[in-house]
Assembly symmetry: C2
Homo-oligomer: 229 residues x 2
DNA sequence: ACTTATGTTTAGATGTGTCTAATCCTTGGT
DNA sequence: ACCAAGGATTAGACACATCTAAACATAAGT
């Protein structure tokens, strides 16, 4: 059996590989998990002994196929829980991340199945993140492009939003920027601030926020105001 | 912060005090928690340092008011979870105990509130055990008397059933012995086996099972077959 | 009152997850 | 090709939760 700490390391490596590419350095992982570098060194060492990561000293670490499967399972738990909490327990999308982080390591396979069933096996969680299927095939995490990579006058559809900062999520909900929203970039300031038009309202988003929003180019069939199911 | 192991010790002491009276001996607690006696000695020692138990060497241990409050909170979590799993996720009452045992240490106060709300603040869990109120006043755990303390021809109403043995629960559900059931004792064998009449069906219960069922004397207003809400 | 059985505690060890301080690689700048 | 800076690992420590083996206290039995 794996400890929840080990599961958190694997999940962190999974996210960092997705966002920044393998291999992941010791200090990056230490920063992300809020522990010291020597702690990471010893932990990834035991993960390697269990065959869950490949590691090259002084280089970094990456998931093996087994390690990725564990990570994907934890991610499935996390995103199913986030969806369940919003759909059935009336949580706000800005509140669910921490709760899911605590529960994801402690639910049974039976609980996972029943929650998925109660939700009707959804494809994405409240932030637009793909929910891995029960067979634990790694989902496509690469949908869309970062909002800060686009320029003025582009008409874009919001695909997903980072779920890690509750304040940011509360602000975005207020601004109407949620998965499915169609927006148009009206201005990009030199220091990266992006101003967008959401259904007639102008919203200014700091670069750090714009970077955490993933979008696709809006097609004609994307209505600008429609609330999606 | 308390570890989940510490919470489990406090919950165990709470249950053992209820069933067997304080103080609780080291080896009894060791048996109940499936650890060795020295492990218990060192654990209760640190619980005493935190002011959660009173302890007299070579005598035993009992909860302080603070310790009881922690125990009652864990019990509230446990029983709310059991109720939620049966009511909203279609679990059988025989399956919920282990799931609740794992989750009870990891839910937030917010989650506790929302689950209680979704259930309409129930008084009892699926096994008839009282759910402590949010202010954590110790509930009355003494309702009813043990079925094995009654004799032939007594007409009794089932108040609660132990939730710890899944097989036993499955059997009892099949036999129709659930909280609210009215039954009549038709025979008590010398070795403790109790035979009861449940709505015309005869059911034989070994002494160990009879001991884990708590009942009250049925009144005229207790219909023999009615399923309670 | 003595002795023994039972139950409890102490002593000492292990594994996990973490830390700080010290040492050791690797690499980019000159 | 050298060296300094930054990042990574090793060394040594600590808290927690657990164990086995040994010593000890209490309670019962004679
Ligand atoms: Mn986590
Ligand atoms: Mn999410
Ligand atoms: Mn537990
Ligand atoms: Mn119960």
């Amino acid at each position: 059996m794996l400890s929840d700490v080990m599961e958190d390391y694997l999940k962190a490596i999974y996210y960092l590989e997705r966002d920044e590419g393998a291999p992941i350095g010791t200090s990056r992982l230490a920063e992300y998990l809020d522990v010291t570098a020597p702690t990471v060194t010893s932990m990834v060492d035991s993960l390697e002994e269990r065959g869950l990561v490949d590691r090259e000293k002084y280089k970094g670490v990456e998931l093996t196929a087994d390690g990725e499967t564990v990570a994907v399972e934890v991610v499935r738990h996390h995103r199913l829980l986030e969806a369940y909490l919003t759909e059935h327990l009336d949580y706000d999308w800005s509140e669910v991340h921490d709760e899911a982080d605590a529960l994801e390591h402690h639910i049974s396979e039976e609980f996972e199945r029943r929650v998925a069933n109660a939700l009707g096996d959804p494809e994405v969680d409240p932030h637009g993140d793909p929910i891995p299927s029960p067979d634990l095939t790694p989902p496509d995490e690469g949908t869309g492009t970062r909002l800060d990579e686009h320029g003025e006058n582009e008409r874009l559809k919001v695909e997903r939003v980072s779920d890690r900062d509750a304040d940011e999520l509360a602000y975005l909900q207020d601004a109407g920027v949620v998965p499915g929203t169609v927006l148009e970039i009206t201005d990009v300031a030199p220091f990266g601030m992006v101003t967008v038009d959401v259904d007639g309202d102008e919203q200014s988003l700091p670069e750090s926020v714009a970077r955490s929003i993933r979008v696709s180019v809006a097609t004609d069939s994307d209505e600008s105001v429609v609330e999606e199911a």
